[in-house]
Amino acid sequence: MTNLISKKNLSADFKLADKVIFVFSLLLVVTSYFYFWQTTPASYAIIKSPQQDTLQVNLDHKKIYDIQGTLGTSSIEVTHGKIRFTNSPCQNKFCIQHGWQQHHGELTACLPNRVSIQLASADKTASYDAINF
């Protein structure tokens, strides 16, 4: 024998369930957006040069690093989560024009001086695996 549920009761339960599912789905969408699509700030940078040991620098402090490259010294500024070239012995200064880098996966370099900066994050859910430019 089939239990018949009154049309009124079924309607009331369905509405409540609908509301809960709607709110839950909305939370899921918002959470997914922040999880997948927000850029991840870098927490450290790896500075490389063939003339000296590789440096891993925390971005959460303020300092200027003088890095010896093949042409001379490149100056690299770190401040409050960002890093940039401020001086370099190359003529065209492309590295300086790149400006501040602050997101996981970003990469900049002074090619003539062979000095590179790669940004990374300790957060393994960081947003970009590589940067195209």
Partner: protein, 354 residues
Amino acid sequence: MNSLLSGAQRLLKLVTFILILFGLNGCSKPVTEFHETVFTMGTLVEVTIIGEDPALTEQAYTAILDDFNYMHNTWHPWQRNAMGRVNSLLKTGAPFSIAPSILPLIKQSQVLSKKSQGLFNPAIGGLIKLWGFHQDNLDEVLGPPENKEIQSLLNNLPSMDDIKFKNLSMFGTNENIHLDFGGFAKGMAVDATIEHLKEFGIKNAIINAGGDLRAIGQHGNRAWRIGIRDPRAEGVFASVEIAGDESVFTSGDYERFFDADGKRYHHIIDPRTGYPANQARSVTIMHHEAATADAAATALFIAGPEKWHEIALSMGIKYVMLIANNGDVHMNPAMAARIQFTQQPNTIKLSKPL
């Protein structure tokens, strides 16, 4: 007896199921990651390999470093090497034996040059040198060349059709020809090294040569996420996901340039005018092969907003994003469906499908 579950009971089961799914995701094994950068091919190359045995990864990485060094030394257009020999002999018009290390570059670029209606033209090395962009760095470039020097080259402009083959010989039919594969060689190198990684059994990797890349597989249990840098500002302005085997290449007016008399001159020379192309800020292409993506990025940059669609159709390109001089973004619908903007452009112009 059949009983219908109440709405609340169905909801409880649904929520429990979803929570279990999230819980299982947390139980996935962490993937091993290999990440190295190296200066080679005149740029910074970034190699990422995911989820492989460390010894195999190291072996594969060492092998592709050797590949890059070989290709850089062999294909450099202005050094005393196989390419230098080919360039010297092409000018004479006399037949010479085909150089096996250079042949793939020539053959593939002949096909692509034709499909691009000559906008991709590696035979204009003489024009590139006139502008000073043949050097690895631009320290010694003082300014643009004289217009009469440019016009002199344009009057007898070489093309890839000026290289002929007969049996096991090749010869040139234009004394002005000088092959400079520039960025195209980078695309070919990325393709070759990705194929070499596959031969080692590597399934998930990215090779990023100075910002132009090809990715295979995926990152653990998700697609690769590629950020696209803003051509005029700091940081990333768009991103795209890649899974499988795909290349992302961008040509832009910000990559190699010099300033003279308050004006900027960049390295992408329009073979029709002899001057740097001036219709776009950047073009981003997605395509399976890196070499094709590389050639297409150059050709479509030169083509500009009016002609890019026609050239993309001709070259078989399915995903294009062009940023015009005024900042307008031009895309085909398939690209628009894949691109996620972190900074929404003021104007996006959608073309017909490709």
